[in-house]
Symmetry: C2
Subunit: 375 residues, 2 copies
């Protein structure tokens, strides 16, 4: 079986057998039940790239680089072009949906098949698109509250929804032009992320700032600035509200989240405040927002722990069949996520399973400090 996968990988990714053996040995290429996946970007192959036994290669979704300043960055990055498109960057988790061996799979960023995601895709997307386009991969964001990774209540989505931001070809990893993507999604009634129109790169920063300010008020994440025919990689830019909400999240679990996560978000706030020429009052508001996101979260965590409550992240999944929950639990276990199933709620059309993820490092550290241990 694995030899078969090695052969397919050799052929599809055009790398030699020795290199594959090296990747397997270094645990960069991870053998799963029916596929190989690349655990990180290596030798020009994107993290999350997966090779299946039926011969499908689904490339990893490339990391999108960030603008710290809108004006100079948009101008420079797209200087050779007349038109760029601004789309919303939604806050959920990145999913690649495709079929392999005639079955839908929902792949996470690292190329794992998430059974919950797969079940949701079967419900939300179904097979009609894939039957006629078996060579295409729908790249989108899974958003909404019944979301085991990044639950957000900001999108007016009742449970969970899949919104598409790109369509990629298997094997070549080429992205369809925006127009083609629009045609296809229209044809199959699939949802796209909100589109904020086309703009000239010399002017786009003004529009981008306007959109960012509006999205920030609505607690939404940010934007992607793309060439409509993918002649340049897209770039991203996020709202202050999203930076602060990330900080709020990170400091709830201050000993679980890396300091790099925090540092980069704080620096973004400084660059935005600079570019928007904020004066004393606006700066103070931003400072307060930033500081409060951090301090309130830490205090909440300490207070809870002092009351002997555990610091947890509460998530839920909504499923039709309980066996999806069983598969999902195995999926979490495999990733060494510590969790407890708190409740299984019966609904008319299935079940909502409430899961509590335990953030052990933060729990342990906080308890120890409350007990008078040294930092």
């Amino acid at each position: 079986m694995k030899d078969n996968l090695t052969q397919i990988t050799e052929k599809n990714l055009n790398i030699n057998r020795e290199k594959i053996q090296e990747g397997l040995k270094k645990q960069i290429i991870i053998p799963e039940k029916n596929h190989y996946r690349f655990n990180k970007t290596w030798g020009g192959i994107q993290r999350g790239t997966t090779i299946f036994k039926d011969g499908s290669t689904i490339h990893g979704f490339p990391k999108i680089r960030r603008a710290m300043l809108l004006k100079p960055t948009i101008k420079k990055h797209f200087k050779d072009f007349q038109k760029i498109t601004i789309e919303e960057k939604m806050n959920g988790y990145n999913v690649r949906a495709a079929i392999t061996n005639n079955k839908i799979v929902g792949l996470t960023r690292s190329g794992l098949i998430c059974p919950y995601t797969t079940a949701k895709l079967e419900e939300k997307i179904g097979y009609s698109f894939f039957k006629e386009n078996p060579n295409l991969v729908l790249c989108g964001e899974m958003i909404g509250p019944d979301n085991p990774y990044v639950p957000k209540n900001i999108y007016n989505v009742e449970s969970v929804d899949f919104v598409i931001f790109d369509i990629m070809e298997k094997q070549t990893a080429d992205f369809l032009k925006l127009e083609q993507r629009q045609k296809l999604t229209d044809k199959y009634g699939l949802k796209n992320v909100p589109n904020f129109g086309q703009h000239h790169p010399e002017q786009a920063h003004k529009k981008a700032r306007e959109i960012i300010k509006k999205l920030s008020k609505e607690k939404r994440e940010g934007i992607l600035i793309k060439h409509p025919e993918h002649k340049k990689p897209p770039i991203k830019y996020t709202t202050s509200q999203s930076n602060c909400s990330d900080l709020e999240f990170a400091y709830r679990y201050y000993n679980d989240y890396g300091s790099d996560f925090v540092h980069s978000r704080v620096v973004r706030e400084g660059f935005q405040s600079y570019e928007w020429r904020e004066q004393e009052q606006q700066l103070e508001e931003r400072a307060k927002r930033l500081g409060k996101s951090i301090l309130k979260s830490i205090k909440k965590t300490i207070k809870e722990r002092n009351n002997n409550e555990k610091t947890t992240e509460e998530v839920s999944i909504k499923i039709k069949e309980l066996r999806t929950a069983e598969k999902f639990k195995k999926h979490l276990e495999k990733q060494a996520v510590e969790f407890e199933v708190k409740d299984i709620e019966e609904l008319n059309d299935g079940y909502r399973v409430h899961i509590s993820k335990v953030m052990r490092p933060t729990n342990d550290k906080t308890k120890s400090l409350l007990n008078g241990d040294l930092w």
Copy 2:
């Protein structure tokens, strides 16, 4: 010569020759002109430990651990004792002063001989103490504005001063009892850090909080809580003002300072706000202070860079003889510090040399982002 040092090290630190060879090979033990120094804590030997050709061993100054919460930590750490002393933790740089081969040396934390520090110690302390106590090491803080490492104008020190917080025995690394230290410093007219009296560990957190609040208003750094006979290692605790001032400093040079530096200070603010049961208004003030420290610094750096000014740290040293400046420049070069001498000011009693340290990573990154490069 080095063989001689190896022999002395073997004898004084009671480690075998093979271990010393290993340390040298791993660049943990660094051979200097006339001494070996330990570049990091290794095999139970403190970072900064130095062995000189005359047979002196000057142990590294041990890292002092931090209380995140005053009350539980003081109680627990000192539970077996009746009395603890609170002293001020001043904000300058840690120096160990001693004689070797009949000459004063000023050692930095990592065991380097700083020529500027050495010259200042000769002026401020002189030889009388060491002639009668050649086996003792004065551990103190070099504070004040003419300070090439941590210049601060908060102490009403005109140029630079050396204040003692411990006296250590060569060879054994034992610290003198506070009372003995007081007697000795009185005898030789040496300065000690401010002392806030003795307290019972069950009650000391109240006093500590009072002191910290006062010190914070005066922009001072914090306190050390010690057993007067060093029967337990001391612990430290810092003011909010000092945390914020560190953040202000770190974000001026956001690409030179590690994110861990930032993260730990932010977490301290959360713990202090929790322990002091701050309500909405105080929390908002703290949030604003924290946020502004960060944002103002980043903005200042970007603004400067946009005006084509370099982001630098301006420091000065005050010396009697210009050759001290020459030696100090070599000392900085050795440590790969990038700097320019901006000005040599002639004074009645010597010279003030103005040095500009160039923070290259932050300079380069900011320039690149202003030019529209991606993060």
